[in-house]
């Protein structure tokens, strides 16, 4: 593949400060938050508006050069890993909120807008954007759209795809189409819904119309400590069976609690398991529901219960939870985070099996999970300087994914398949399903240029390398979910 003619053509659009080709410039784009994968692209372009994006995509198609659209590079599945000899389209400068219409309760944004900025802009109108990935202070809406990002509050309000109403999209050959619109309802197949979570394989979202919700009047958060993970799991079952619909239900195990203490000084009780349950909504309704919740929790025999009485206390509980992953980095030099899903009632089985695997591999695993929707985040700790440690950690991670599939779940709840789990997608779906996905992909992108090598098992295998956490993560700027 000769990429030089394309780079020549791109140099007619971009000045040299927005067309990066020197190794030192490209280094920053070699990997995303899944740092075990690295790949140097042929060039990075930094467009300033949608016309430049469209032109770039068209040129890539003309020259048959693969491209990866990238936001802040916080993907935990290697979703924005560059393609060797390919182009990276860095969308961070397309960061305008084009319209915020409080009456229609929508925001129309460019793909480089940072998740949290949408809620900040909507706040004066009493509105917010619901999906809250832990990296929300840095991750972009374009990336959220590509990977259907989740967060701690998915149980009640769903993931990114539940909040995208419409999009303007450049298909992989540069043809521009409108999908959906501004209404909550539509006619015909739900094309925005199909585009969200397609991991960049269907092209580049240029403009995204997001649904905004009124900010909940109040939150009530309770933290309960248990003497076993099993007991915490039983409490989740009780809460779910009660008919209450909490905004979030989270569990952390002893190792994760320890990490949160070391990393964020959350002031958590020391216990084998912690449960966090949060209710949100109107003051009077939440008050009544919270009384019911507390009664339920008392009946599950917790060893300690703490209620957040103030916004500060609530923030502290969440800070510990959201920082737990990065904090694990203080317990071991390296770790892999997994994202499997199991049916909620199988959480106990899954955790017991993870425990067994951890013991048999002799590798420590910390567990943090969105218990309300069965979304596990095992953190597999290792020291990459040890010969073969990364490979063994990867092997353990693979066994956990297979376990999730066996229990009737999914290999990914919110991080996406990306580069990391593409070998596991065929374990979840059969050959007919894989073929159908490949057929649709080929029909949308005849040359397989858009984010080639992600999600669908194909293309050149990238090499696993050990490089440690993302620099921003080390600095405490970004957190893993």
């Amino acid at each position: 593949m000769n990429v030089h003619p394309l780079i020549d053509a791109l140099s007619r659009i971009y000045d040299s400060d927005r067309l990066l080709t020197r190794p030192a410039q490209l280094m920053a784009y070699e990997s995303d938050a899944l740092t075990v994968f690295q790949q140097r692209p042929a060039a990075v372009v930094i467009p300033q508006d949608r016309a430049e994006v469209i032109e770039t995509v068209q040129l890539c198609h003309e020259h048959s050069v693969p491209f990866v659209a990238r936001g802040s590079g916080t993907s935990l599945s290697g979703g924005s890993l560059p393609i060797a000899e390919g182009i990276v389209i860095a969308l961070n400068r397309l960061d305008r909120i084009l319209r915020l219409d409080a009456e229609e309760r929508i925001a129309v944004v460019e793909p480089g807008v940072i998740n949290l900025k949408v809620s900040e802009a909507a706040k004066p109108y009493g509105l917010y954007y619901a999906p809250d990935p832990s990296s929300q202070s840095i991750c972009t809406i374009g990336g959220n759209v590509a990977f259907n990002s989740g967060g701690a509050h998915c149980l009640k309000y769903g993931m990114t795809s539940n909040h995208v109403l419409g999009m303007t999209v450049a298909l992989p050959d540069g043809e521009v189409v409108e999908l959906g619109g501004e209404s909550l309802e539509g006619v015909g197949p739900d094309l925005p819904g199909f585009f969200v979570g397609s991991e960049g394989l269907f092209g580049v979202a240029l403009e995204i119309t997001l649904r905004l919700l009124p900010i909940p009047q109040t939150y009530r958060t309770v933290l309960a400590a248990y003497d076993s993970l099993h007991a915490a799991g039983d409490a989740v079952t009780a809460v779910v069976a009660s008919g209450l619909l909490p905004g979030a239900i989270e569990i952390m195990d002893a190792l994760a609690i320890k990490a949160a203490e070391v990393g964020a000084k959350a002031g958590y009780p020391t216990a084998p398991a912690l449960l966090i349950v949060e209710l949100e909504g109107e003051e009077s309704a939440v008050e009544a529901e919270f009384a019911q919740l507390m009664q339920l929790i008392e009946e599950t025999a917790p060893v300690e219960v703490r209620m957040a009485q103030t916004a500060d206390e609530r923030a502290r509980i969440w800070k510990g939870r959201k920082a737990a992953f990065s904090a694990v980095g203080r317990l071991a030099p390296d770790y892999i985070v997994q994202d499997g899903v199991v049916p909620r009632s199988r959480l106990g089985d899954a955790l017991a099996e993870i425990d067994r695997l951890s013991a048999s591999y002799g590798i420590e695993v910390a567990n943090v999970f969105h218990a309300g929707d069965g979304n596990l985040h095992p953190l597999i700790l290792f020291d990459g300087r040890e010969e073969g440690a990364l490979e063994r950690a990867e092997e353990l991670a693979g066994e956990i994914l297979e376990l999730c599939v066996e229990l009737g779940g999914s290999i990914t709840g919110e991080h996406g398949v990306g580069m990391e789990k593409r070998a596991f997608l065929p374990k979840m779906y059969g050959p007919l399903e894989m073929q159908a996905m490949e057929d649709v992909r080929r029909s949308v992108d005849s040359r397989s240029l858009a984010n080639r090598g992600k999600m669908l098992p194909a293309g050149e295998a990238e090499s696993l390398t050990h490089v440690g956490p993302h620099p921003l993560e080390k600095a405490g700027v970004i957190f893993r979910e």
Partner: protein, 387 residues
């Protein structure tokens, strides 16, 4: 059709196929007496395969009636929060998904697109393919369940569906507010939908004089009265104050929404058309419609959806300008899309079909390059109807 294998055989053998479920949306399933089109009746491919109340999920065959599912869920205190319409008229799960229909309750937690988490479908080659999964959270692979919401049987034939469900609120209350004019109502709508009150449903419709707005809340019965009062004060506080407010509870309240779900407000002989829009478009739509004889309409989902009663193709005494074709033109002028569900549809050319065939799609065309490319992949021989 009693089995998936039978459907697969039919798809492989036929030149063109269309699907019919419960027949509650005849404009989508009945027309077209073309010789080469075989209609597959899926109403017998029914039954619940799995229901896990603890998981908030169930899986059922496509021909299962929505009403049967609702009855099953209510025993466990659960429900499909998007109020699937036409259940009382025999709507099936598959038909409701293929038509992409959500009712008033969609306002609170999302529509059918947000609750469908897994599907099986037979593609144009006669292969049965699985999409999505059976757990409430899943980001693996292309989201075929969403693609099939509103797909009208034109990308494949749904055979099995997995839904997420939610616990049903212990009680509901509805405040009805009467307004002299539309603009007062829209002011109140804006105030109430931007307030911190958790609203389950927000519908409005022209009354004999003026307009009526219905706002539904739900939750623990102990605080419902207090919350209803808060809702009433929000409604009374704005510039366009309502003339009269009334609070509805229990049976009487439930029947208000049953009327909406079953389209009982629709006069006999009128066709039913569904038009997505936004609250800001309502005045323009009203202005356009006021020139015609079409009277029956109900706005739902906080002004994001219009259910419109419109004379159908076969209506004997319809006005000169009130044919489905005229509505098509009106919607085109408004840059809106609509779909006819009940009544005989207009005769219009759809791409790839004959000019004389009935076409339920109205207004702005659906077709775009993304959809075209997807359809080619799933149905290369064009066994299903085209757009």
């Amino acid at each position: 059709m009693n089995s998936v294998a039978e459907i697969q055989g039919a798809v492989r053998a036929a030149k063109r196929v269309r699907v019919r479920g419960g027949g509650s949306k005849p404009a989508l399933s009945l027309p077209n007496c073309q010789d080469d089109v075989q209609t597959l009746d899926l109403s017998t491919l029914k039954g619940v395969i799995d229901y896990q109340p603890d998981e908030y999920t169930f899986t059922a065959r496509a021909g299962t009636r929505v009403a049967d599912i609702a009855a099953l869920l209510v025993e466990e205190g659960q429900y499909l929060p998007f109020d699937p319409p036409l259940a009382e008229r025999g709507a099936t799960l598959g038909g409701t998904v293929a038509a992409g229909l959500s009712g008033a309750g969609r306002y609170r937690y999302g529509g059918i697109r947000d609750f469908l988490i897994g599907i099986r479908f037979v593609d144009g080659r006669g292969q049965e393919i699985r999409g999505g999964g059976t757990v409430v959270k899943n980001a693996a692979g292309f989201d075929f369940p969403k693609l099939f919401v509103g797909s009208l049987g034109r990308l494949g034939i749904l055979t099995e569906l997995t839904f997420k469900v939610f616990p049903q609120p212990a009680a509901f209350a509805t405040v009805a507010a009467e307004f002299e004019g539309l603009s007062d109502l829209l002011d109140a709508l804006d105030a109430v939908t931007r307030s911190a009150i958790d609203l389950h449903a927000v519908d409005f419709a022209p009354a004999e004089e003026g307009w009526t707005l219905w706002v539904r809340i739900g939750g623990l019965p102990t605080v419902l009265q207090e919350r209803a009062q808060a809702l009433q004060s929000v409604l009374s506080a704005g510039v366009g104050r309502p003339g009269r407010l009334s609070l509805h509870r229990e049976q009487e309240e439930e029947s208000l929404w049953k009327t909406a779900r079953s389209m009982r407000w629709l006069a006999e002989g009128l066709g039913l058309v569904r038009v997505p829009l936004t609250p800001q478009r309502v005045p323009a739509v009203e202005e356009t419609l006021s020139g015609s004889n079409a009277a029956a309409r109900r706005y739902s989902v906080g002004g994001n959806l219009l259910w419109l009663g419109w004379p159908d193709e076969s209506a004997p005494e319809r006005g000169e300008q009130d044919t489905p074709q005229d509505l098509h033109t009106l919607l085109l002028d408004l840059d809106l899309q609509g779909i006819q569900l009940i009544g005989r549809a207009r005769r219009g050319k759809t791409q790839g079909n004959g000019a004389g065939e009935e076409n339920p799609l109205l207004g702005r065309p659906l077709q775009n390059a993304f959809l075209r490319r997807i359809a080619v992949a799933l149905d290369p021989e064009r066994k299903f109807e085209s757009w």
